[in-house]
Assembly symmetry: C2
Homo-oligomer: 232 residues x 2
Amino acid sequence: MATNGKARKPPAKKADPGKADSRGEILRAAAELFMQFGYAATSIDAVAESLGATKGHIYHYYGSKADLFFDIQTAAMQRLLEGVEPLAMGKQPALERLAAMALRHTEILLTDLPMQKVAVQGLERHLFAGVAALRQLRAVLKLRDDYEQLFAEVIDQAIRDGVVVDLPPKLLTKPFFGAMNWATVWYSQRRLQSPQAVEEIARVLAGCAVRGLLVDPAAPAVRRLSLFSEHA
Amino acid sequence: MATNGKARKPPAKKADPGKADSRGEILRAAAELFMQFGYAATSIDAVAESLGATKGHIYHYYGSKADLFFDIQTAAMQRLLEGVEPLAMGKQPALERLAAMALRHTEILLTDLPMQKVAVQGLERHLFAGVAALRQLRAVLKLRDDYEQLFAEVIDQAIRDGVVVDLPPKLLTKPFFGAMNWATVWYSQRRLQSPQAVEEIARVLAGCAVRGLLVDPAAPAVRRLSLFSEHA
């Protein structure tokens, strides 16, 4: 299915002032189609059509459908990493950092939905025929691992602080991310909600994710978290 | 893609002693393929091939790919409903029922993975061309709504009991199911884990799901829950 044999065009062929925008537009349009129809059933033609562009326009940026697919994942994971990494590195207690990370993660999910769907739901359901994609696949999996590791480390610290239940941090990241990432299955941006309503949903999801890990959510340190200030 | 125009064969044409098994086998094989390749990219031929059967064998049971897809969802949702409904109807306090329901739900997910994947991840990503599928679609969505409603009602009762945070029960079901259902994205049955290991994962996921809703997981009523007896 992947057309990796195709010669990749150099990225800077035309002086196109709207290039960054074009690339972002292609990624978003392709993400919508991949999520709606699946990888196999989505063609470069369909991506071009949904943008009112030519197939050549897409191939100007991407050598193959697989390239396009991986670039969606890379861009979406990088957006998460850039948003969350500074919060992980702060000086605050682990629990405070974890709550801030969970909220930022959920806000990005809900406001960047099609791209994030592709990124967080991963590659499992999409098959890549060629070995050519293996290098890209590893790079994306590495990004995702790094991202989960950020959380696992803060969770580990919070366990040592005695506020999170004493279970393997990697295992705890599963229901933790699940409480938030499941939104990529049930949430629909088409509902056109106000930013306040989206923010409130993000707080509920991140709140349940964090509370699910806690030994005692009624503890004073937890009650002070801004994440729970409105609904604890 | 759906071949609803095809004449549906009466279900009892042959006296086939292995019929119930055959139907279950077809459902499981088709579920694996739908989840791996997506609805559009999966053909009746591929389902037959993966079973070493003929296309006619599949059409003996199912008039179309859409019928087969809906029957997977129906069978999987019914399995959940049958497992969980008796627990919802018990006389125990709401929190105790909720914990038992969460654990049963997760155990079924993890042990019946391909079928449950199709059921819990829903139809959003799969397109149905024909209007013929609308009736079936509504029936499946109704089953799923009924199932979520079972949980929403027990959550509502637990809010009135003062043990679950006071937020709309329907909204709370989202991160609650997310903590558990996300396993259909990350969990792989191919790891071949022992029943004890699977049970332990189920307890961690259900535990985080329930704890995520609680006002105070350190409360005595919570500590008495068998769900938390091993790792609270």
